[in-house]
Assembly symmetry: C2
Homo-oligomer: 331 residues x 2
Amino acid sequence: MTATRPEGLLACIEDDLTKVEERLVAETRSDIGEVRAISGHTLLSGGKRLRPAIALLAARCVGRSFDTHRAYAAAAAVELIHMATLMHDDVVDEAPERRGRPTANAVYGNSITILTGDFLLAKSIWLLSRDEENLNLVRLFADVTIAMAEGEVLQAAVARNWNLNLTTYEQVIERKTARFLAGCTEAGAYLGGGTEAETAAMRAFGHHLGIAFQIADDLLDFLGDPKQTGKPLGTDLKDGRVTLPLIHTLAHCDPATRAELLTTLERGQALTDSEIAALTAVIARLGGFEVARQEAEQRMERALAELNRFPESAYRDALIRLAGYVVARDR
Amino acid sequence: MTATRPEGLLACIEDDLTKVEERLVAETRSDIGEVRAISGHTLLSGGKRLRPAIALLAARCVGRSFDTHRAYAAAAAVELIHMATLMHDDVVDEAPERRGRPTANAVYGNSITILTGDFLLAKSIWLLSRDEENLNLVRLFADVTIAMAEGEVLQAAVARNWNLNLTTYEQVIERKTARFLAGCTEAGAYLGGGTEAETAAMRAFGHHLGIAFQIADDLLDFLGDPKQTGKPLGTDLKDGRVTLPLIHTLAHCDPATRAELLTTLERGQALTDSEIAALTAVIARLGGFEVARQEAEQRMERALAELNRFPESAYRDALIRLAGYVVARDR
């Protein structure tokens, strides 16, 4: 298995993605065997290549220009940043598996996984910096990386805060997820020769899509099929990560239910499957999932509205269908 | 305590360093309280600001130009990279203290220390990328960061390899230490308006100084005063890190001594202070420290020779004295 792409949706950029894949293999080379091994492990562990695909589709959708060399380098760079942050996140979360396969930290240990994450992050900057025109892309993805680190730290800092409000939840998901997708679509628009207004619209598309993406991801922790997602249900609950369905439920239940829920939630890593199922049932009953689904759908509509300014094309269609896939996906 | 600078040596750039310090405080701001706290902890924990000082002295020594805004930004960026790599290294080494003070990981835990390291690394790139002329500096420090990660991984991979040869040892210290100092002096020369030959000479100065610096650092692990260095003797031995004095000793002792040394070395973390003292005595007797000292001094001479092409100045004097300090330092 190499990359698992959302089937069918990306046919119009299949050739582009093949070139990006070649670039990724080339850019993760190192004369240090262990760096090569860990990079290769992460590269070949079934990523969907969603971010490169979104950047390339955004560029093709704008369609005023397309320098293949620059576009493929930028698309590879965003996947390298994604790989680096996944590696660091998996160390932080002590995750044994991702997408049903052992994580780099599980196979190679935390130390060299942290360092190879740094290697990949620096490689992405190096790759972007080779083109004289790319200084603004360097700045954009430095900003994205800053925001992602801040979002992850904020998420860790507010873990087990059962009174988390919507504003802070949105701040977390905006930084840890939406900022990156907005960066991919903004970079794509820039590489596609977009005007200022087109670039802003593409950025807004990525931003709203990113919020919808993370809400959908948070829903999968309660409602996903572990065989599909590759991770057990209730991981967020065990880690004390408070997401939209739970925020809604805790804000709208009677005091007795709230007290009961908090007692269960406090069990953290000790939560059993049946306790997680019971929590899920209460959230379902009180409409927490429905609220989250509606929010994700509204965000997706706001995202799609931004695409109206672009001419009809196979690329725009693919972005629309990809947005639908992101919100309805089961893994 | 803020920065502890090698006293007296840096008087000629005292004002520059004050500006860089202000810049560092400004650039480590974040609206996420925990990011600010950890960055602040590392910023105020007694770093010598050696790398910014070397970059600034190199620029002033070349002396054809000096744009304060760009120079201070670049000097702050190299310290941010240094801070980020120290934080990740301390997590990797599970270090409880650095310079006699608790590390960020000891106070705040591994997870948010890793993430704040990423934040600082990205901040350094962001800071460099704000100036239109700086793309080559971005590329240079991306390359430095790649090399440092590779060097650290290689070091971890060859730990407890008692047959380590000089070539691999040099590869480790070139990447983990010398490449960064060479980057600082090259960046300095570039910011000072250096010609190609001047920039190459400054880079070579930094490279040789970096090798000497690391050999001196490796000697401190055997011969330093823990009260001065802030870390216990024999940390490298416990971690299985094979450095020049040990390589020389193992290559030049009789088979019986070698067998005895290896038995002791295999004890790793279990090594007692008296075993470390006994190992140190054998290395001293077989000239391991003398060989390392000579190598460091030769490297320093090669470094200083590169400075001959620059006109006499307070800045060149400071670089020469700083090189002496680096090799003779006791902490």
